[in-house]
Assembly symmetry: D3
Homo-oligomer: 285 residues x 6
């Protein structure tokens, strides 16, 4: 579509009320899925973040990296084993997880943002003791899978006030001296809560919460967290959606104004969420 | 034209390199002509300014107010007299000029910007001794028409750093205790130079410098200030364009990076100038 | 009278305890009446303000401008109409009021203070949304006569902390987009209250509150605000004094330490008030 | 003489241009002689200092204490011995000198200023290594009489910027670990020079430099430092005036704008000097 | 003993946890007794203070000076008279006390610290009105012996934040304009309490509180302040220990975390107290 | 050896002059070799760094990680290939290098320092565009082995001023969008130069520069950089020492005051270097 400069200017101006609304606020984005794999989507996400930062939004990027971990494990001849969707993580696996997340995925995101003229600082939960964890209580022994006990947000705020976009790998230090792998959605929720963020955005590969999961036209755009138990009972929230929505509920309970599940497969989905009335995906409040 | 949220986001992102380029820079806009008369254009200008400020551009608005002055003079039974396009300004006229500019036009611009959620501070050249003038040297006695001797930019910088858009009426204090009327284009050029502005933008009611003044398709988009004498000799720069272009040349000579003559009749012309490669109107460098 | 340098020094030193008492405090002065008309008195007021500022008092000047408004209305052929001492203000009149106050009176006070080496910033209630008003509730339709709903003191404090004496015209923005004329005494009281001022000083053309209004020797120097109802009942407070004293009472009720009605016809009456034990005029506490 | 409040206010206002001139400037006062002995004069000096500080002058007080030293020496049975007006200072004498200056005179000045509501900090040349000295080169062995080698003004500036009037005893630390007595006039001149003071004021018990030393009507009010050699040759500068005037010359040579010899026997002589055109005593520039 | 560089480094590292514990905390040291007389001990104390300051401890030094006072009184032919261990202080004695403490002892401590490359500021209770006192209520008239009514800690904090070690003579200003002598232990306790100090350390010439005062092996290392009355009853706390321990108790009651009585005759006793687990002397908490 | 608390205190005090000398200075430590492998040595290095930071030294830690890289390559079935001591680095190898350095070695150092109560921030050359590189010019194609073109020290200074010890992996971003491996000694030298460091310390597994490389008693403690060419010619500087010493020379040439080659196999070698006169290893100046 051919768009004239006049129309472009007009569209910029229409973004004004949204910019005014979000200036100075903190938005924590959990980045993952296709949006992290497709180069076009990745580039679009980086642009979105740089733009948000420039108009005064304090963006914090939290990332996972499942596929790269599996690939690296395969290279070293380790098998990936999962129980209830959680990776069984022995010492050797944890080493690979740490290397891939904090050394590869994190730093390549830093480099991507730099190439879009953003100022990025790549951190993990060990830096400045940001994330302290204990071993996750679970029926089966998952090894070095942890649950967050403490978020020391100081290093994140230092990074923000020095002008950087903090990009965070969700490995945490244990009180026992070990390193623990933390689910990135959960970590993003904890971080958003501790920062007093205005929004938590979880990027996924689905449209949002669907009334009928086979029909994208049945998207539920807005959910009050008090409705969640009922939606679980009725089976609308089920399967892989459960832990993600639990993160949203938890974040909102701890003071985050809005939590979102958005479709990372749509280009600029973050911007659309921020800069339109309808938003995108499902919002929990 | 129907534009989807995806397309909107895409357009926002395309503005990114321009925003990055101008963030932290100062742009002095001389506001006048139709853009100040038509309510739609006025509203668009206000939006443009608020948007620029939000993305980190330090905007300074300098305004004239010829039509309102003439109208008020008429109301009080004074006749407007012009010599070479300059108003002959006796004491009584000067009083009206001051009231209309600093009391009516200025404050109603302040109010307009406020209504667009901007933070405005209405100042004139008397505040903080911003503009000091002497009587304009001219063949005929024009009365209280002044020329700038000193720009004390301190109050403008105070306003900017406190977060306001300074809106400036171009009346100046004289060393003799009188008040002088200053041509707004000239004042804008002086202010831009003293502030070390990146851009000076003069809003007019023409497309820009035209090779054939009856054909808008002959717009000259870019002029090096060294070409101006030749363009004058050849008659391409003539009539009312001469003083405006002299302001541009003067501003560039004193260190302003770019000076522009743009068409205020086009909605969002300032944004188009700032946020596109082609810009709009004629640029002097 | 011939005064030696020794005596001068002695007098300066006697001002010391008063200077120590007021350093760092805020004093709001409503300026009006003869003190604004006579050039000698005006010059004395300007000196007083500059001196107070130099010894560390944060002075805020609020002004009216009735006579100039009437004069300008006359020039444009409009008649001044009053109901209960308040000007009936149609759209056209409001335009004149705004121009005269914010464009003429305000800026000429700025220039006067500058000539006394003061740093002045001329503001009105529209700047930085300082004064927000609604239509004054009254029996008769007075047009654009407003009452204050909100004082946003931020712009005043910015001016003070940047080293300026804020000089304020009391026109206010309406939530309906109109401009309203505000009684200057009332505005000064509201501003003093919002700033947490130490003193509110209303300059008038009378000695203060007189027990017998025909005998200046019956001045009541000090009044507790709780005595005001009784003084009204007894007729001592009557006529034009009522609204002025109501302003004083209101200011004191809202936390201003002292409110004064002083005689602007006496040269340096502000200084005398500030720098002597007896003060001048009538003090409400 | 009866002076009305109106006249008082008028006199305050007449001080305005002087206050404006000195605000933010540094004035070093060497305090000594009768002004330090008479309780009335002492009280007047304290008032002068507090007033100057309140109107923004940074006052530094440097004091001597000859009479108290002699008295204390007498009490302990030591004889005061002088060569060329300089006290012969053995170890025991130096101990007494230090005690009297830094312990008695200094701290009682601190207390006096406090009683006038001033904020004083009593320091000596040892504090913060302010004054470093070597043994004075002289024909006769004067013992612990020193000459300044280094002024570390940091502690004085710290005191000023924390809001105190620094009151300084002129004993200095030696590189050899000893303490040396420094002539207070000389120390004041060095300190004024290092601080980049605007004025150095030496309080004495004479009118100033007299053309005929027996006739106070022959006061020379202004001397250019280049005239001093000639005035010495002609005998007009002679005796005890020589070292004092040498201090003034030295201070001016090192960048102090004006150095003054004033008569401390006149009440408020400092204020008169600062706040009148004619000043008092003799000014060197 | 020959200690290798490796061993030295090792010992430094062992101090690390103590340094981390005390960094940023305030420690008030009452300095007196043999530690102030022996040149070796004095030098060790100075080193200790400079080291503590360098590792981030805010040290405040409070000193007495009994022996020097007595010596000076003797020199001037005054006799020292004591009632219950307190010096009877007439006007003349008070003068000597002030001179010796604030002029001699204080300033020579300043010089000592400077020679150890410390930055010292010598103050007394008169400076910045730090200590305000009334006459001590006592059975016998002790003259100018005072008790503290007010501690204005501002000047101490100013000195600390400007990087100085404040060294304080405990003479105080009276509301009656007199100067009062204050017991240095008591003053140190008051100052520690007002500063919210972490530790108060009283340097004495005994090991600490001994169960059997003739046997240094019976040192009681730790005492809870609630045990003090019992220890007094049992006679373990007796004689000269009573007022010192009362100071410790008072300080702890007013919020000081720990108060110590340590043996100043042991070289580096302060450092040993701060940088070892066992500490030295007796600790009250 | 049994060392008493008194002796410990004495040793602490002896460190005082060194602490005073280095307070506020920047020291860049290249960490590697045995000191990074042995848990005891590693723990000692961490203690040294925390101590230095506490006494005011700004430590920057730069690390390599050769052994871990080789081990990881082996695990993934890649062979390590070297030409002239430099690893041939294809894309896949570079990926492993980045992961191991920035993800494993770096973050485990961060964790170690945290366990010693230090505040660490793990960064690599990609963060904040700290290190920009081009392909190393070499006879053989080494793949992604880079040479530094630009050091953007901003992010390092931000980390320091926020109170962190920056720990840096020496991978760099290329202008071509690739990532390059940088020799850690070289990177440390460049960083030290750009920071204006006082000292560069290269930790190695040798004593320093030996006159006879088989005899540790022939250590050359001090070398002027101008002597280096001669020492190379004479064969004293040879083999693996050449590039290390070239780094030292380069750092000194660019303004680093001293560069050191020290023996990381000696516990607390950094502290010994900093806190003794003789130092340790070889110093270049």
């Amino acid at each position: 579509m051919e768009i004239s400069n006049e129309e472009r200017a007009h569209i910029l101006v229409q973004a004004l009320p949204y910019i005014q609304k979000f200036a100075g606020k903190t938005v924590v984005v959990k980045y993952g899925g296709n949006a992290m794999i497709s180069p076009e989507l990745k580039s679009a996400v980086m642009s979105d973040i740089v733009l948000m930062r420039l108009v005064g939004v304090n963006v914090v990027l939290v990332h996972g990296g499942g596929p790269e971990i599996s690939e690296m494990l395969k290279k070293t001849g380790k098998e990936s084993k999962f129980i209830n969707g959680m990776r069984v993580t022995d010492k050797e696996t944890m080493d690979i997880v740490q290397m891939v997340l904090a050394g590869k995925v994190n730093k390549s995101l830093v480099q991507s943002l730099s190439r879009h003229n953003g100022k990025a600082m790549g951190l993990c939960g060990l830096d400045g003791n940001m994330l302290m964890a204990g071993k996750l209580a679970a029926a089966d022994d998952l090894g070095y899978v942890g649950e967050i006990r403490e978020v020391n947000e100081r290093i994140i705020n230092d990074a923000i006030s020095d002008g950087y976009v903090p990009i965070i790998s969700t490995i945490a230090g244990g009180y026992d001296g070990n390193v623990y792998n933390i689910n990135a959605d959960v970590a993003a929720a904890h971080i958003a809560a501790k920062l007093g963020a205005y929004k938590l955005i979880l990027m996924t590969d689905i449209r949002g919460l669907l009334r009928d999961k086979n029909d994208e036209n049945t998207l539920i755009p807005v959910v009050n967290v008090s409705e969640v138990p009922m939606l679980k009972k009725s089976g609308i929230i089920s399967g892989g959606m459960i832990p993600k929505i639990d993160c949203c509920v938890e974040a909102v309970r701890r003071g985050v104004k809005r939590a979102h599940i958005i479709d990372g497969r749509i280009e600029h989905s973050i911007l659309i969420e921020i800069f339109s009335d309808e938003g995108i995906g499902t919002m929990f409040y």
